[in-house]
């Protein structure tokens, strides 16, 4: 921001001062024609003995004024038309947007050429041509911004309250569109500069004896072989002006973009890929004093210890932000990259999850089922090529064999026409079907551990039941150990052997399924979670809010 703004301020200063002090040197014809650079003439002189540096600096005023004029025409008319389109009725809006869409596709310089062809070449016609040529683009952007702002809550509320559309546009929408519009205005300014200079450069803009950057560059083209330095002044000035505006635009955009503020932390990995398993430790997964934190920030998971025996199903239960997903992903070896993970021990089988274990073993031994089946599949690949990835990459299966394995697995989770599903893209399947497909793919490698991160949360209740049934069946038939994340005790009750209740990064209570079934719980947070389970028993009297369900 500061670089760009400083640069622009300097250019504006030049635009004000240079014409007052340097006009003489820039325009007076002298006998010192076509000189090279010298202490008197830093960039030399042109064929008429005029100082080239002075000419380049004096031209700043006319160039900036013309550019500002053209950009103003594009922005003001563009915003007005864009808002008008949004305010117009639905029918008009659709037609207008269609027309704008077509207009935007045209190179604005060619549009400007049409106008320049009609008007006599000169300063004002260049400004008008470039200004008008920029209107459709800005109008379209305004209309689109308006439509996205107009669906925001406060605009909807204002509309429901009967506030007039014009007033909504002026009071509620424009202020909220100001920032992106400002950023885009910088872009329009830069574009206008380039195009106005282009018009002058090809001889259709500013005419002699007036001169702007483009005109100067055009003059230099004729003298390129005899006086190549003549091109330097206008080139540098055009580049600097464009750069200053661009930097301002970039800085404004970066301020508006929160992603830019993220910082990276290089995780220190342990060297030993295998963890020493103490004699007598039969657990499949063991985490001791697991700590997860934002580097230099708060600790999100605080000294958690847990173990999962082979074939055991362990639930991590708690509200959003309790750290249960972070814990599960750390155990699966997929922690978010900007988090620091530490532990006294973190192993799955013999794999040290604090190091980087062999990828094929990881892929084979640990399967992960994610929360939202709508976003976990690559939208641009067919289901078949995604579901067979692990089989082909890590188990060395051929394509046809892998497909057959997946087809059988899909049939097992009651997916109809499995062979045909493999040819479809993810968006062609329902959410429940996608999640069942994910579960099917997760067991074909006969993993030792399945990590399921809220696998039912994003699904309809009826579909939830079916997905849970699949997990139970897998456990019954294959005896796979599972780490099952949920915020809902009712979901885990029927499935899990051990239930760990998490709150604010700590395990507050450990329950066996028998204890949970008997409602033998002690921590108030667990009781509150239990109370949140809706019961289907007809309640004789309205239940007291917050009381544990009997």
């Amino acid at each position: 921001m500061s670089t760009g703004a400083g640069l622009l301020a300097a250019l504006i200063l030049i635009a004000i001062i240079a014409p007052l002090t340097m006009t003489q040197a820039a325009e007076q014809l002298t006998a010192n024609a076509a000189l090279g650079p010298s202490p008197e003439h830093w960039l030399g002189t042109d064929d008429f003995g005029r100082d080239l540096l002075s000419r380049a600096l004096v031209a700043t005023r006319l160039t900036l004024l013309m550019t500002a004029g053209a950009a103003a025409i594009s922005v003001v008319a563009g915003v007005a038309i864009g808002l008008a389109i949004w305010l117009a009725g639905r029918r008009v809006r659709e037609v207008a947007l269609r027309v704008l869409e077509t207009a935007v596709a045209y190179p604005s310089l060619i549009f400007a050429l049409v106008i320049a062809a009609v008007l006599e070449p000169g300063v004002s016609s260049a400004v008008i041509a470039i200004g008008i040529a920029g209107i459709p683009g800005f109008a379209r952007i305004t209309a689109n911004l308006a439509s996205s702002v107009s669906s925001s809550e406060y605009v909807v509320t204002a509309r429901l309250l009967g506030v007039s559309p014009v007033r909504i546009a002026a009071r509620h929408m424009l202020p909220n569109m100001a920032e992106p519009l400002l950023i885009l205005s910088a872009t329009v300014f830069a574009l206008s500069l380039v195009e106005i200079s282009a018009l002058s450069f090809i001889g259709l803009g500013v005419q002699s004896p007036q001169y702007d950057f483009g005109r100067l560059l055009n003059d230099s083209l004729g003298a390129l072989y005899t006086q190549p330095v003549e091109a330097v002044g206008p080139s540098v000035m055009i580049a600097l002006t464009g750069l200053s505006v661009m930097l301002i635009g970039d800085a404004l955009a970066a301020q508006a973009d929160p992603r830019a503020k993220r910082s990276f932390f290089r995780r220190s990995l342990q060297r030993d890929r295998t963890a020493g398993v103490p004699a007598g430790d039969t657990a499949l997964v063991r985490a001791e004093n697991l700590r997860i934190s934002i580097p230099g920030g708060p600790q999100l998971v605080k000294n958690i210890s847990l173990s999962i025996d082979p074939g055991e199903v362990v639930a991590l239960v708690g509200e959003s932000g309790s750290g249960k997903s972070l814990t599960a992903m750390a155990i699966a070896g997929l922690p978010s990259e900007d988090l620091a993970v530490e532990a006294d021990m973190l192993r799955v089988g013999e794999m040290n999850m604090l190091a980087s274990p062999d990828q094929s073993r990881l892929a084979k031994d640990i399967s992960i089922v994610y929360q939202d089946p709508g976003t976990t599949f690559n939208p641009s690949l067919r289901m078949g090529s995604q579901l067979t990835e692990v089989l082909r990459t890590h188990l060395g299966m051929g394509g046809a064999k892998a497909r057959q394995v997946i087809i059988d697995a899909l049939a097992n989770v009651n997916i109809t026409q499995p062979a045909q599903r493999l040819r479809q893209h993810p968006h062609e399947l329902s959410g429940g079907m996608r999640q069942r497909a994910m579960i099917a793919a997760s067991i074909v490698t006969s993993p030792k551990l399945i990590v399921a991160d809220e696998p039912t949360t994003a699904l309809d209740v009826t579909v939830q039941t079916d997905v849970l049934r699949q997990f139970r069946r897998i456990h019954r038939e294959q005896g796979t150990a599972m780490l099952f994340i949920s915020h809902d005790l009712a979901v885990v009750e029927a499935l899990c052997d051990t239930i760990l209740v998490m709150k604010s990064g700590e395990i507050v209570e450990r329950l066996t399924s028998a204890q949970l079934a008997a409602r033998d719980v002690h921590h108030p947070y667990t009781k509150a979670l239990l109370a949140a389970i809706p019961t289907l028993e007809p309640a004789p009297a309205p239940a007291t809010a917050g009381a544990p369900t009997p």
Partner: protein
Amino acid sequence: MTSSIAVEASRTPGVAAGGTGSRFIHHPWVGFSLRRLGGLVLSFVVLTVVTFLIVPLIPGDPAVIAAGDGASPAKIAGVRAELGLDLPMLTQFLNYVSGILRLDMGSSFVSGESVSTLIFTRFPFTAEIALLAIVLVLLISVPLGMTVAILTRGGRNKWLDHPFNFLTSLIYSVPQYVVGTLLVVVFAVTLRWLPAAGAASLNSLVLPTAALMLGPVCVISRIVRRETAVVLDKDYVRTARGWRLSALRTHARYVLPNLITTTLTLSGLILAAQLGGAVVIETVFAWPGLGQGIVNAILQRDYPVIRGIILVLGLLATLIIILVDLILAIIDPRNLGGTSSDV
């Protein structure tokens, strides 16, 4: 910023998004083709009207211009009758349209050459540098943008951020004709490696193409970088990591296909805008294409040629946009519904 705005801009509010199965048209390709054909026809109609209007709108009498300086009133009247400028406006328009449909757009006021012939001679030169530039731009900027995005993912390699942003900003903010002029100064005048102007040899292609592609390479690699950063944050990339796929496989199969839609949509618009750049670049290099043709025509007030070239350049822009849509639809059938957005 660029990408989000453009994605925003590519979504047409009010028009059902992604509605592939309209009530009237069952097969998505039928609807797609009809819509694109409609767009082409609409552009053609608009372009025909606009180019026709150029002549009635110019200040002064076209017949005087066509007859040349110092023509006698009798000659001017003759020219007026010959060009049909004395006919009613509607008749003139109908004549103009029927002329276009017969590929007869009159002859140049200056050389007397037929406008169609002139366009056919000049067009290959413009197509040559424009196509070469487009291919090179995509071949360079997609890998470049992806690499930078992957290297700077999640805030790592922060040192790379600034040079990349600064250099691409700098080069992009230098207009193509300035780049072209500087290239001539360095490579033709000073080093004498390459010809400065003309289209005499293959070597002559180098400088115009370079001047034409440098800016787009910068802006498109920035777009690719931003889009890659967005895609890298998606759940399905985490899924691929959960399947422990190699970095190459993850990026080639799970990242690249998902940024190509937005990239191509934006690139199409940017590359169509390059036609404008080509006009100016041809002047720098005395490249005998359509751009040089129209600039000369405007300077000489040669209106039949102006009309013809504007019409052709406009149709070319439309064709580029349609071509991009077609490629997108082939890559990903979800784009059949309309101009694509990212999801």
